[in-house]
């Protein structure tokens, strides 16, 4: 059994399996299922078009996947300590969590930030906070994911200036701001500005990175949160691709060539689900993306065609019941990720249904990923499931399903319109409802939830306690920075920023200037709000 619909006869024998994406699974697959399938055209070699088997020739033989646990909480100093803990345990990349006020462009002393400062991530008000958080981190060797979207441009500016202060030039640093606003409007909810100027801000970061930050990945397009909000695996990829296409078309309008920026685009995709459907999903996505970039956008550089990804998370599959089982679940999800040929992996920790992961839980997740590399043979050969009758058939079927969903979006006028009008949100909420009903009615089995349940008593999970003192000291430090900075310079740079925004210039250089004067996140966001306005959620009920 797995995440799928199972039809059984009266003797309990499985007579049909319907995957989430709507594909019927047969009891056995043979060469006949692959009639018309061309090994060199459809599968190819690893590292060669259409990249079905992986984007690199030798994959994990040459280099294991990057392990990048999502972390960050409380003050920048707490976050710095957690970063160092994870690096000391062998983590090879950072993935920074920001608190909700920061993600929504609010300073820690904003009344709306009350009770939320430093709660689900680190609080950032000014450059000072970045200086503290990244102190002592080798920014030329460790890349940083910045999990922030609406104000990703501001965070990228802070990262660049911080690195420069610590002696790292912008050519050597590698930041991966999430910076995918359309998916925030579908799920996750950390949007601020309306659709059109939000897309323009993303265009600014892509264009700026293409010119000045060669190792930075300015956008990480997230099917992940769309899936976690309810979408099935084919929808996850289809909507993510349509989002990417929206950003790409916008940047092309600025006169850039696809090969100038496509190699730095990356994806963040979900590993929760049925093992076979997931592996086929990633392989189909890789092949389809290569075709889209080559045929539709005329790319010549093979790196433009690479679907580079973080395949991780899996939070949607974890349960509050019998939480230790989540350690096992995450290990299977990690296996899916490795079998899919991911570049980067991150896992939800077993206690995440309850709390911000404790240090112990975070290290268990890291060890899970390390164990896969060290103990079970995942570095032996590339795409070990390639050539399986079932996997190749399913890969073909998933590609068709993804295209069907993409065509639906394009028929109604593209992703920006589909999000503005709530079409996608409605589709996703509907899928989420069907899934939840299927779990509640026992159609989809969940161990500890609807099968093998235990006496429903409190499960022992050590909770990460929120420290309300964080807000007090954060506000004190903000006030200190404000006292020390040159306010004339702050006002001047903010004015320049406003003018640039109004004239639709690339705002990145202006943000860098403002950040350097210790202008606050809230001040810069207010400038944008005054020019752009704010997003209004469409009614989907």
């Amino acid at each position: 059994m797995g995440v799928a619909q199972y039809k059984k006869n009266e003797k309990g024998k499985i007579i049909d399996v319907i995957l989430e994406s709507g594909i019927h699974v047969k009891p056995v697959y043979t060469p006949e299922d692959l009639e018309g399938w061309d090994c060199s055209r459809d599968l190819g070699k690893p590292g060669e078009y259409p990249f079905t088997r992986g984007i690199h020739e030798l994959m994990y033989r040459a280099r294991p996947y990057t392990m990048r646990q999502y972390s960050g909480f409380g003050s920048p100093k707490d976050t710095n300590e957690r970063f160092k803990l994870l690096i000391n345990h062998g983590q090879t990349g950072l993935n920074v969590a920001f608190d909700l006020p920061t993600q929504l462009g609010l300073d820690s002393d904003d009344p709306r930030a009350e009770g939320e400062v430093g709660r689900v991530g680190m609080a950032v008000d000014t450059l000072r906070d970045f200086e503290v958080a990244f102190e002592g981190i080798p920014l030329d060797k460790i890349g940083s994911g910045l999990t922030i979207n609406a104000v990703a441009s501001i965070m990228l500016a802070m990262y660049e200036v911080t690195a420069q202060k610590y002696g790292y030039s912008r050519e050597v640093i590698s930041a991966t701001p999430q910076n995918d606003i359309l998916k925030e409007m579908v799920g996750r909810g950390m949007w601020i500005f309306p659709v059109e100027p939000s897309i323009r801000l993303i265009g600014d970061t892509i264009e700026y990175s293409a010119k000045y930050l060669p190792r930075t990945n300015p956008v990480s397009i997230c099917g992940y949160h769309i899936r976690e909000s309810g979408a099935n695996p084919a929808q996850e990829i289809a909507y993510a691709f349509e989002i990417a296409i929206t950003y790409i078309e916008h940047v092309l309008e600025r006169g850039l060539h696809i090969d100038e920026f496509a190699p730095r685009l990356s994806y963040n995709l979900d590993i929760f689900g049925n093992l076979w459907e997931q592996v086929a999903k990633f392989r189909a996505a890789r092949r389809l993306w290569a075709k889209i970039i080559k045929d539709r956008f005329g790319a010549k550089d093979p790196r433009s065609m690479w679907l580079r990804m973080l395949a991780g998370g899996g939070g949607g599959g974890l349960t509050m019941e019998q939480p230790e089982n989540n350690i096992v679940r995450s290990a299977y999800y990690a296996l899916i990720s490795a079998l899919s040929g991911t570049q980067t992996m991150a896992l939800c920790s077993y206690d995440e249904a309850y709390t911000i992961p404790t240090p112990k839980a975070a290290v268990i997740s890291l060890r899970t990923m390390q164990l896969l590399l060290e103990e079970v043979g995942l570095r032996d050969t590339v795409d070990p499931l390639g050539g399986s009758y079932y996997i190749e058939t399913l890969t073909n079927q998933m590609e068709e399903k993804i295209l069907e969903y993409m065509n639906e979006v394009e028929k109604i006028g593209g992703m920006a319109f589909a999000v503005e009008t709530g079409y996608i949100q409605r589709e996703v909420a509907h899928q989420a409802y069907l899934h939840e009903k299927a779990v509640q009615e026992g159609e989809i089995h969940k161990v500890g939830v609807n099968v093998y349940t235990e006496n429903e008593e409190e499960y022992e999970v050590e909770l990460h306690e929120y420290d309300s003192e964080v807000a007090v000291s954060q506000i004190a430090s903000l006030n200190e920075v404000k006292r020390q900075r040159d306010n004339t310079e702050v006002t001047r740079t903010l004015k320049d920023l406003e003018q640039a925004a109004r004239e639709k210039k690339n705002v990145m250089p202006y943000l860098v200037d403002a950040v350097r004067t210790y202008a606050t996140l809230g001040e810069m966001t207010s400038v944008f709000k005054s020019v752009y306005g704010e997003f209004k959620e469409p009614d989907i009920f």
């Binding site: 006020p101 009770g115 309850y354």
Partner: protein, 132 residues
């Protein structure tokens, strides 16, 4: 005479953006015959109270997954009291640790539905306890 349908306000107070649960519950309530008003994200307590009064709802359902359920609910309950909305049932859903369920009930919340609560449980609770 047909019975008046129960009017439920499903809302996301505060800054938390996780709305899968709120939307799913809204759909379940609607399928159970209730009239559902969904506010969307990032609502302040003042906005919630205003919509609740305008829409003359029977139930306010808060969905909170960021961990800030205690301070937000406290503020909402104070506003409910101040506006003399005693007839409105207040329920809370989301990531709510067991130890906080009792605390929320002591504060005056009528029902607490942590993640995983079956639809039929929250629906029948509302139908039984609605104050009119």
């Amino acid at each position: 005479m047909t019975e008046k349908r129960i009017r439920v306000l499903v809302t996301k107070p505060g800054l938390d953006g996780h709305d899968r649960g709120a939307k799913v519950v809204a759909l379940a309530f609607r399928d159970a015959g209730m009239e559902v008003i969904y506010t969307g994200l990032h609502q302040t307590v003042e906005q919630i109270i205003q919509i609740a009064m305008q829409e003359d709802v029977d139930v306010i359902g808060l969905s909170i997954l960021s961990g800030a359920h205690i301070p937000i609910t406290k503020k909402l309950l104070e506003a409910v009291k101040k506006e003399k909305m005693e007839n409105v049932l207040v329920v809370v859903g989301g990531v709510i640790p067991k130890k906080d369920i009792k605390l929320l009930q002591e504060m005056g919340v009528d029902g607490v539905f942590p993640i995983g609560t079956p639809f039929k449980e929250s629906i029948s609770f509302i139908k039984e306890h609605v104050k009119r």
